[in-house]
Amino acid sequence: MIELDRAGRSFKVKRNVVHAVHDLSFTVAPGEFVGYLGPNGAGKSTTIKMLCGILTPTSGTVRVAGLDPSRKRTVVARRIGVVFGQRTTLWWDLPLKDSFELIRLLYKVDRKDFRVRLDELVETLDLSTFMKTPVRQLSLGQRMRGDLTAALLHAPEVLVLDEPTIGLDVVSKNSIRAFLQRVNAERGTTVLLTTHDLGDIERLCKRVMVIDHGRMQFDGTLDELMAGESSLEEVVTRLYTAGAQ
């Protein structure tokens, strides 16, 4: 479903070339739930942005559902759902309901399918009380649930989440985690999740990838990563500090 082959993205900063992502290769099979970890500035967001066609790779290839996102951006956009925890993709001044309707029209979702999906999402994410509120007036937790709904209305095959639980309280976090688990299990949606919250990883991901300095440091199951140790936090701390040296 997702394939990276020696993908790289470099930026010119003044006269230096910075490799945000360097020779990165991995594959995610349909239906997998993968955690994508790495310290700040490791290249996680850059990877995600290459997956949705926001950034064009400077080397190697990126494929999502068999397509090159930078060349077939609008086709890939219909098959991928993206959530940025730090930034809403909704329309700031529009009520949530109108944002969703606009998404239906932009993604050309069939009216009946849309109705069914929206009703289901409104119920499971408990959106009914603020459907008529403009996005700018929503609390972070409400907005996040709105963003998740928006990313799923077109029934994407792949869901990419960039820190979806950032800044959320325990209750909101748990409801979002339970929801993601359901989406993955029931719809078979492939999920790639970036987070700094190790609780997200422990609860949701069978497979974990860790990158640092734009290179893959670990790619395997959560059990392999733990290697018999009890604290994920310690394991991850060791990996991150090893990369820094």
Binding site: F11, I54, R87, D93, L94, L106
Partner: protein
């Protein structure tokens, strides 16, 4: 494409209605400001009867044709110059994840229906000039053609200016000089400018094909700079070439987009 445009424009119109006071002020101001340009022309002609050999009504005709095209562009495409804001703040990311052309999304970004005031004002002036000059029907067919070409030429300029923002993220003023400057320049007969300037805006930046060259044809006048007759009809060619260039530049700009750290 048109459907998506209308959809997004309508969305922004509803969003703007969320701030009713600013909506009302913008409408009134739009009407007032639009009248100032014509006032300037009328002031000139209260002191003289011709401007570089053109009568008041002929000048108003040239003003009208250029301004209908420009005002349409101002309403429908000018939001492209807001792209520097989106590039700087990284909100352009959001546009890139939608299955819709980024050009349409940027052009409709904060679409303001209130700008229609300028279009109406320009149409009014043009209507007056056409009636007053009593132009023959056999040449009037050129008027919609020149407005169409003018619209494409101005849109292409805005697109080029927008594409430039991907490289010069901090200089939206440079772009405005091109776009609004071109709008201003074509309001008057090119005969008032120097030969070198006119050459520049004919062969380099093809502004002469917005209203000057085809306008001379409609008015039945020879070119004071002596260009051959066939140049009056090159508007569509100039518009097409510029539009293609602009499209390419936009594509390149997007490939160069760097997003922001998050």
């Amino acid at each position: 494409m048109v459907r998506t445009y209308v959809l997004l424009a309508w969305t922004w119109t509803r969003a703007a209605a969320a701030y009713p006071v600013s909506f009302a002020i913008m409408t009134v101001l739009g009407f007032l400001v639009a009248g100032l340009d014509v006032a300037a022309i009328l002031v000139i002609f209260s002191n003289t009867t011709t401007l570089a050999g053109f009568t008041r009504d002929q000048v108003l005709f040239l003003y009208g044709t250029s301004n209908v095209a420009f005002a349409l562009c101002d309403m429908l495409v000018s939001n492209l110059d807001r792209i520097s804001l989106h590039v700087k703040s990284g909100t352009f990311d959001t546009m890139l994840i939608r299955p819709v052309s980024t050009w349409i999304q940027t052009a409709t970004d904060r679409f303001l229906i209130t700008r229609i005031g300028r279009v109406l004002q320009a149409l009014l002036v043009l209507g007056y000039a056409v009636t007053a000059l009593d132009l023959p029907w056999s040449r009037l067919w050129m008027v919609p053609v020149m407005i169409g070409c003018g619209f494409v030429i101005f849109s292409a300029l805005w697109t080029l200016a927008g594409a430039l923002q991907f490289v010069l993220t901090d200089a939206p003023e440079v772009s405005s000089a091109f776009t609004y400057g071109s709008g201003q320049l074509t309001q008057y007969p090119f005969a008032i400018y120097g030969r070198e300037v006119v050459r520049g805006v004919t062969y380099v930046l093809p502004l002469a094909f917005v209203n000057w060259q085809p306008g001379l044809y409609v008015l039945g006048l020879p070119d004071p700079f002596g260009t051959p007759e066939f140049m009056r009809f090159l508007g569509p060619v100039a518009a097409l070439v510029l539009a293609l260039l602009a499209g390419l530049a936009w594509r390149q700009g997007i490939r160069r987009y760097r997003s922001t750290g998050s």
